[in-house]
Symmetry: C2
Subunit: 100 residues, 2 copies
């Protein structure tokens, strides 16, 4: 019995929760800064986006909890990065679909 390629009920739930995590302007912007396997700290993203530190941490936490990002602590810093590089496709697709 191999892994199905279809989206059954529980996989639909998981897929929706991942997508819901991404579906926020700030969090899409975060993903933009993590394309190509880049790893960034909370502070870097906090400065790049110009939003509160706690808000930044909160958004990153959501993305990690829902399986979109991974994190790895190094000293005082925590680096975040895409769990699946293929997720950039979603941002790319949105760029195409919001051209007009």
């Amino acid at each position: 019995m191999e892994q199905t390629k279809e989206l059954d009920s529980s996989r639909l739930e998981l897929a929706a929760s991942m997508l819901k995590a991404i579906a926020h302007p700030m969090r899409i912007a975060i993903l933009k800064h993590l394309e190509g396997g880049k790893k960034r700290t909370v502070s870097e993203i906090h400065e790049l986006l110009g939003i509160e530190q706690s808000t930044t941490s909160h958004h990153l936490g959501i993305l990690r909890d829902k399986g979109v990002l991974c994190s790895q602590r190094e000293g005082k810093n925590t680096f975040y990065y895409l769990k699946f590089n293929i997720l950039s496709q979603i941002v790319d697709c949105l760029e195409t679909c919001t051209c007009d």
Copy 2:
């Protein structure tokens, strides 16, 4: 001044609202049934998914209002279909990322 390929603030809002529309188990399932340019009526989707007619219409309305689907009425039926076929990429990507 040509159309930028980047996601500025208002395009981020638009992208997020499209993605939020998709980010629901039932609505992902709906998109699955519209891949490849297929057109389906409210009733067909209502039967395929086994959910209430009004709930089906509601979900389809959200997807249309947010620019994910288009609709076209033909007699008593309203056919819904993907506004951009490329949107299937998002569903495909989710299938890949929820394999494990």
